[in-house]
Symmetry: C2
Subunit: 499 residues, 2 copies
């Protein structure tokens, strides 16, 4: 058995290597690659996908898993051995149903779709995007068919990002959230908050310094992080000591601050993943996209949009942008960065309206996968829903259906994890407060080490040993629950934040 386990670990490490190479390819594509290089990048990504597929579905992998199956009863179910066998078994059984040619087709459609989307978004031309979208959705249909769903077709896709999560459960959670958000959004719409100073002259070179300081203040090991400019911010990692976050600098606002705190949360997760024997294998990777997002939303919102944090940190921002913020006090700044107002763009949405952006996409995705909406009609349906849910009118598709890249690369099922993660971030935060003590006080003193360490020990160090709901259960004693999140929003926004 030791021998079979060693062989499995070696194969797992190779899978991990391929995942890291894929990360480098996409980081490079989005921050460094000369534009004409896109022609080659699809082939690179297809190669990675196919090689990972071949490695995972290799009959020898199946044989090793079969050999190890009977030993599982004697393994610690909280150990990495057990977790690795369970995870690879699960991935093997799903992937073995997917033809290698389809994996390559998906990778190529994604690379090309992304390139077309960039152009279509720049010119707000949905017609230009439509054929690439059709091709990507077609590959997803083939994928769903190949895997063969038990119940909902959408389950197959959702499960890739949030293992074992069911469409039905998400539908229920999102309905509960929608019912509470709609009246709250309406109430907040009437509130007058001055945020005019968030637009102004925010020189990029000073933003660059500031973001470095934010990341250093939150904390990390030396020489292991970098921050690069990109169109749509993301985080990437080539290993625990090679963390790459990205941001978009706008010379007329400091939105980069919040996107950087968000990506810091993702980066910190990767930075604190399990070291040691299982490092670099999938079981030492992040648990799920939802859990990943709980970490980014935690740093962006529960830390980064909290009054105690700004009591500590605002002087550093004010000092750097004295021309704009010289006369703005911390309460005014805090109120402004928490102003809730229905808007067009998901990634710019405040904490209250954000959820509706995700719910809209979740509903559309189900219509897409179940063939209830023609892809050509998406802009119209999108615009209707935006009007209905947020009361905003979409002026063009660039600020509507074309705003996000996900669908251009066939990523259906991904959006839901943003809101699931946001919900879980509050559950995790409250558990941390139980364990660590007064988090507000820590933030106000600029002490982030206890927060970083608690997350490291309680979330990050488990890697991917458990499916996300099992991890959450162990961590907070329950599965996903929207109530703490909704209570948090009402506490923070229902009260007079502008007072």
């Amino acid at each position: 058995m030791a021998d079979a386990l060693d062989q499995l670990k070696t194969r797992a490490r190779d899978l991990g290597q391929l995942m890291q190479l894929g990360m480098l390819l996409s980081w490079d594509q989005r921050t460094q690659m000369p534009p004409a290089g896109a022609r080659h990048r699809g082939e690179h990504m297809a190669f990675i996908q196919r090689t990972a597929h071949d490695l995972l579905v290799d009959p020898e992998m199946g044989r090793l898993l079969d050999e190890l199956e009977p030993t599982m009863a004697s393994l610690d179910p909280d150990g990495f051995e057990y977790g690795l066998i369970r995870l690879l078994r699960r991935n093997y059984e799903k992937e073995v149903k997917v033809p290698a040619a389809l994996r390559e087709e998906m990778a190529r459609a994604a690379a090309e779709g992304n390139a077309v989307w960039l152009k279509a978004k720049a010119s707000s031309d949905f017609q230009l995007f439509l054929p690439a979208l059709e091709r990507n959705i077609e590959t997803r249909h083939k994928y769903v068919e190949a895997v063969g769903p038990d119940g909902e077709l959408y389950d197959v896709l959702l499960d890739d990002f949030e293992p074992e999560m069911k469409t039905e459960d998400v539908t229920q959670i999102f309905a509960e959230i929608r019912d509470e958000l709609v009246p709250l959004i309406a109430e907040l719409r009437e509130r007058e908050i001055d945020d005019s100073f968030l637009e102004g002259d925010y020189p990029v070179d000073r933003q660059i310094e500031l973001l470095r300081d934010v990341v250093d203040t939150f904390g990390h090991r030396p020489d292991s992080w970098r921050i690069d400019p990109t169109e749509h911010p993301f985080a990437s990692s080539l290993g625990r000591d090679d963390i790459r976050i990205t941001t978009h600098y706008y010379a007329n606002n400091v939105d980069s601050l919040f996107s950087t705190m968000h990506e810091y949360g993702h980066g910190l997760y990767q930075h604190q993943l399990p070291a040691g024997e299982y490092e670099g294998t999938p079981v030492a990777g992040p648990c799920s996209l939802g859990i990943h997002e709980s970490q980014s939303r935690l740093w962006e919102n529960l830390v980064g949009r909290s009054l105690p944090f700004w009591r500590f940190y605002y002087p550093r921002v004010q000092e750097r942008f004295r021309e704009v913020l010289g006369g703005v006090d911390v309460e005014q700044f805090y109120a402004a960065v928490n102003k809730s107002q229905p808007s067009l763009i998901r990634i710019e949405a405040d904490e209250v309206t954000y959820g509706m952006h995700v719910i809209l996409r979740f509903e559309l995705e189900q219509d897409i996968i179940n063939g209830r909406v023609a892809l050509a009609d998406l802009p119209q349906v999108w615009n209707q829903k935006m009007h209905e849910y947020l009361g905003v009118d979409v002026p063009d598709d660039a600020r509507g259906v074309l705003q996000d890249m996900h669908w251009s690369t066939g990523l259906i099922g991904y959006f839901s994890t943003y809101l699931l993660g946001t919900v879980m971030s509050v559950q995790i935060w409250e558990k941390m407060a139980d364990d660590v003590g007064d988090l507000d006080e820590l933030m106000e003193r600029g002490e982030f080490t206890p927060i970083r360490e608690w997350l490291g020990e309680n979330v990050h160090a488990h890697g991917r040993k458990y499916p996300p709901q099992e991890l959450l259960q162990k961590l907070v004693g329950s599965g996903i629950d929207a109530k703490p999140y909704l209570a948090y929003l009402k506490r923070k926004f229902g009260a007079a934040v502008a007072a």
Copy 2:
């Protein structure tokens, strides 16, 4: 047969993909990676090496090659089919003798050696470097032993970079060069040339603009090149339309100009490699390091250090650095950038003394591989030879034996190709002049398209169909010959260049 050939092509494409991923990993390591990421990078490189090894020595590869062998008689020996089968046969037969574990060991020793060398060079501490060097040399010894040489041990290593080239031939060519260079160097040492203005205030932002202009002036397809800063300049490519050259900016000189023209030559080769069916396979890759270097040295020296080029281009340099060069005319500038003077650093050496730096390394490498020198004694032997060949005294190991990275990654046999390429660059240049006409006149008019296109058609488009000496034979009608190179040096430097 068509089927076997298709399968071979698919495998060849995968090998090509792995080579490109390896290129991205090292480009990233040398331009982008956070320093702490080095810990993971060795694993990444080892994975690529092992995967490429496994792919190449896969028994199925041997079977396909055996199946195709009898068909070769009916194939066009100048075609890519023939070239691919011949190349893979050759690589297969060499690689199949190398254990996979040794390939990984070599990759790991290289990654770690490089990291140690960086530190050792920074502190000029050869003792710090010695254990890593020993480890790398030991893996090369194992490699030579595994491959099993027919004659000279060094042949095995040389052949990796310059296929089919023999130590004996290189020894003879280098002896011929040394005999001519030594008196020429002595003669030039006495010549007084004012190059004081090459040191001065050369603001980096203006250098950045200038280098973009040089590369645009020489020519390339749009959106396909980038130039990044690095410690030791190199060129890299992720495909014909993703060309990445690097340079080192010094605020007090314009050395970056020449290193950029050098890397442009490498980049152009990759940019004009064969497109079409064989693109991305090894047979559509560059022929050898020597041929690669012939292209870089051609642009750096035969174009970039020629008087006709400077008659055309000098005004653009002068205009950007008017404070330093305002009173310097083109003849003075030309004389200065061609000043020959023995110096410590290979990559800063002029055209005349350059060869002696390579010859020194070639001789030392043979002593190393044949165990005639203890690695601990290298600094001493290096310094003696520098005194003997160039009459310079080495003040510290950073400017001596530690100056180049090659040995830190186990690259023994590589240096020779710099001088072989330089020699071939003159043979190729003279053949181009025969075909194209007056190259001086073209350069003086700033017309580089005929040069670029001739190289594209006559050198680059052949990819790796032939071993380098066969390519050269087809191209110029003879094998490598030092005479044109030596005649060129005497023509250019023997006459009164400063007149």
